[in-house]
Symmetry: C2
Amino acid sequence: MPMPLTKGILDNPNAERIRRVAELAKSKARRKTGRFLIEAPQAVREAIDLRPEIVQDLYIEIDEDGNTASARAAEIASTVFSDKSGDRSRIYVHYVTERVMSAISGDAQGIAAVASSEGLIGRLSGTDPRALAAGSDAPLTIAAFWQVRDPGNAGTVIRTADAAGASAVVFVDDCVDPLSPKVIRSTAGSLFHIPVLRASVSELLAWNGDHDGEVLAADVRGTDELTPVPLPQLLAADAGKTNTLRSILFGNEARGLDEAILEDCDGIVSIPIYGKAESLNLATSAAVLLYSLAMSSHMRTM
Amino acid sequence: MPMPLTKGILDNPNAERIRRVAELAKSKARRKTGRFLIEAPQAVREAIDLRPEIVQDLYIEIDEDGNTASARAAEIASTVFSDKSGDRSRIYVHYVTERVMSAISGDAQGIAAVASSEGLIGRLSGTDPRALAAGSDAPLTIAAFWQVRDPGNAGTVIRTADAAGASAVVFVDDCVDPLSPKVIRSTAGSLFHIPVLRASVSELLAWNGDHDGEVLAADVRGTDELTPVPLPQLLAADAGKTNTLRSILFGNEARGLDEAILEDCDGIVSIPIYGKAESLNLATSAAVLLYSLAMSSHMRTM
């Protein structure tokens, strides 16, 4: 279940509709249409559960016997059909053959969706911090990434920020498109859990300043003016503090942060290296920093 | 500098020697010859600095003008030539053209080395924990990975364990070959910083038991018998303790740890999820756990 009539199954991989869906793998088509592609059961399920209002079309692969090719895809379809009057009721479900699904995406695992990107990736300026707090009084931590360029890294850090309970992710300046299929896959659904916003460096600094927040740069070296505070020392200093808003700004995976940016931040935090490694990569740094701050904040407020 | 005579430069990508080097990308050739390939300046430099006794041959790319193609490669060559009587003096330096280097590896960035794998990846059984302590009295943390299969993950966790000051990495049961080129690249040199050992699950458990150590499994669910201790609680409980040896066992990137393995461990530790993410990936889990334990141990012993 559901068992569609064979004649309703889309079987032409060259059909205009299918070509338009496949083109959403490219950022140009996404910009032009205001739509993006969500592949594979996990991400499609999270989108339909948490952001049903943006999902427009669902593509489900049917095997030669007329059954849904993936059991997880069938489950997702049933949540759409059972929502008779809600947001999910307006999602259009298309059944497609294997060759059509292959034309849509090589990574769909039996299910893909097309969604509207309108309003999904907002701008930090003008965002009310209370809207990010989700009714909680806990301190807000914002995970900001400057010029993150690798899609796998971008997805992983969104997932890490989500798990660590950050209030938002901010992509600063010229970053990879968070709606590229590879980023979405790497978020494992977290793109639909946590607000992802865009900002310039000056917007980030001004927004934090306007709301009594601070921006700490993650960097090992620091500048002539600003010496990094080692993370364990920051955690110890936090113990007596009840800060309400803090943004951690991470640099580009290859170049880190420019000195001019470091000097504009309220402080710099470094992760100590206890062994012989020269440095940590971006995803590892984000995991260590965001989780240490989250655990220490949760222990204080327990 | 150095300026080799043009006639000394290897220019035949099909030469027997070059084909044998290129074959070291395959695990079968590595097993058969007891040699492995190290690509690119960072890894080659770390190998020559820290494990010169295993390096046998150095391949350096020369450009059309007869100069070393990469400045970092030239620096590495000069450390070899200046070590007149030490371990580095027996390293054989070969100059090769661009097409020969391309035949050796697409990721060499101007320099590659061939090294002996003998004794590099030891067995945990029979290893004296004091040999891993490097003269220090600090508690030993061992980072153990069960059936890690993805080369990028394997390399990243070795690098993270190194940075966090772990005493050794143990690859448990059937893991990816730590000497595969992609693993070595992902370690960013850490393969030559930290001992990497192999063990079966029962060896890991017995070795820790024999040396008054404990094995904690990293797992979110636990079993009917063993409930996971949340990481913040473990850190708090550690505060009064001076444990001397602890191994953290991480599961396979897709399947985690088998229930039978979980039940044989001394305890289970879980990373709390503060947001809506379902789970963390292996590299993120290792970063959070190994670094939290390292920072809390360093703060206690300061």
